[in-house]
């Protein structure tokens, strides 16, 4: 039976951040990863916001395989037969250190695990953890490939399904309304074509979000991120909504219809799909977080539920990196105390409360409920689309005054609905 100071389950961003931090302090740590290599099972939309995590890993970013620095934001509100798009760019995005970068997880995670290994972490790939080992109620190891591995503490970074925290009794199985499924294609395209098409410079990139009819009124939306020589095109739909609403069709068909939209097709034209991936995304926010620690156990990343969708930003990777970092720091302090029970490990929650991680989750605790308003995915895109149609249309005969056009769409009952929805949106 092998023994380590710390066992980390899962070589995603949370697990690797924890391993990197622990190994940097000379802690004997092993990461157990079920994929062929770190990153082999990992899929993200692909945008990492660097500001919140830059200083947690000094010196890591200069050599990191980041794809493109995002200097152009875009969003498209899709009605059935029309759409409204805006773009934003600003000096703060173009100058200085990048705020966010596109990444491809299989490349990034493999590289990051190499940095953790250089510091002395052991990475065991092709190793599936099937259970926790407990003694007197305290987690003291894992079962992997039929063997027991022991450690003072286990950090569960086992991904969104959170199977180990479920086994440890830290959470119930996830409810479908708290999760969405993301489908994504990686589409290869010449770097120069990407820069020209998205009007960005060398090494610069664009991010674009889509919402509305593409999810047939269900919670969700689309995304497009530019990588160095590929695009990440994806569609996210609530699993709870899909389970309820038969009319929306199946998820792969929604994705195909999204790809074929006249707003999307020209963006990916000439590209060659090289991978088709999918991943489940936590969407429940603060309310749906898992228990974060038990005796001998910490939970980080997606496994804890650390992803936050605010509509205009969709974030998970920074929370994974930061939670892995704070889990590691908690373990380092616990080693000094020589104790790994839940009382000592509760310092993890405290450090997350003091960091941007749980501060964000508290600030935006009502957001998932507000964004679940179906008006946002059907009614408003149609309303805005129809209003713009009438403003832009020049009929054969005389054109109505602009005020008449506005009043036709923005009726009193419409304005009343908007006011009620705006009161909710104000909670974001």
């Amino acid at each position: 039976m092998e023994r380590f100071d710390v066992i980390i389950v899962g070589a995603g961003l949370a697990g690797l951040a924890a391993a990197y931090t622990l190994a940097g302090e000379g802690v004997e740590v092993v990461v157990l990863e079920r994929g062929d290599y770190p990153g082999a099972k990992n899929v993200s939309g692909g945008r990492l916001y660097l500001n919140p995590v830059r200083d947690l890993f000094p010196g890591l970013w200069d050599e990191a395989p980041l794809e493109r620095a995002i200097v152009r934001e875009g969003a498209t509100l899709m009605a059935r037969n029309r759409s409204f798009t805006f773009h934003y760019t600003g000096g703060e995005l173009r100058n200085g250190k990048p705020q966010s970068c596109s990444i491809l997880r299989s490349k990034f995670d493999r590289w990051f695990s190499g940095r953790a290994e250089e510091r002395g972490a052991m990475i065991l790939a092709k190793t599936l953890v099937t259970d926790l080992v407990r003694e007197n109620g305290k987690v003291c190891g894992v079962v992997a490939g039929g063997d027991e591995l022991r450690a003072d503490v286990v950090i569960a970074c086992d991904g969104v399904l959170s199977l180990l925290p479920e086994k440890a009794g830290l959470r119930a199985p996830g409810l479908s309304r708290d999760y969405a499924v993301g489908i994504k294609e990686v589409i290869r395209l010449e770097p120069g074509v990407i820069s020209d098409r998205f009007t960005v410079g060398d090494g610069e990139g664009a991010a674009h979000l889509f919402a509305g009819d593409i999810t047939r009124g269900l919670f969700g939306g689309g995304f497009l991120y530019t990588n160095r020589d590929s695009l990440s095109l994806g569609l996210v739909v609530s699993i709870g909504d899909m389970a309820k609403e038969a009319a929306a069709g199946d998820a792969p068909a929604l994705f195909d219809a999204f790809k074929a939209r006249p707003e999307v097709e020209p963006l990916i034209r000439g590209g060659q799909t090289v991978e088709y991936g999918a991943h489940v995304i936590p969407e429940g926010g603060y309310r749906a977080l898992s228990g974060l620690c038990g005796d001998g156990l910490l939970v980080a990343g997606d496994s804890a539920g650390f992803a936050l969708n605010l509509g205009f930003t969709v974030r998970g990777m920074e929370y994974a990196l930061a939670s892995g970092y704070y889990a590691a720091k908690t373990v380092i302090a616990a080693r000094k105390a020589g104790r790994f029970d839940a009382t000592v490990l509760a310092a993890y929650r405290q450090s997350l409360e003091e960091s941007f991680v749980l501060k964000d989750f508290r600030t935006f605790k009502d957001t998932p409920r507000v964004l679940a308003n179906p008006h946002l995915f059907g009614h408003y895109p149609e309303l805005i689309g129809n209003l713009l149609r009438d403003l832009y249309t020049v009929p054969a005969g005389p054109k109505s005054p602009v005020f008449t056009t506005l009043r036709r769409h923005l009726t009193l009952s419409e304005l009343w609905t908007m006011l009620l929805d705006a009161k909710e949106v104000a909670k974001i």
């Binding site: 994929g35 062929d36 099972k41 997880r105 969104v160 294609e185 088709y276």
Partner: protein
């Protein structure tokens, strides 16, 4: 659907020694499985004319959507053993 199979064929899959997800015996007609038919990104669930649901495991992206959509009363759900199944090159 055949186009979906072609796209799944772009991915690297290593052989699965045994199916890691199964419809539990006796649950083949459970209506909760309809959610997986709709939500599975790889289109691996089908409902036959006789109302019997089937799952083909080849092409599974291991995303977990079906576990969340249907629950573990209906599905016996696990990850494949280490080194098996889908291996993303881009992710």
């Amino acid at each position: 659907m055949s186009d979906l199979k072609t796209r799944l064929g772009l991915n690297v899959f290593k052989p699965l020694p045994a199916p890691h997800i199964r419809i539990r015996p006796g649950m083949e007609r459970d209506p909760r499985l309809r959610a997986a038919v709709r939500a599975c990104p790889a289109g691996l669930y089908e409902e036959g004319a006789d109302g019997v649901f089937t799952l083909t495991i080849d092409g599974c992206l291991e995303c977990g959507t079906c576990r969340i959509a249907c629950g573990t009363e209906v599905l016996e759900w696990g990850y494949p053993e280490g080194g098996a199944g889908v291996q993303f090159r881009f992710g």
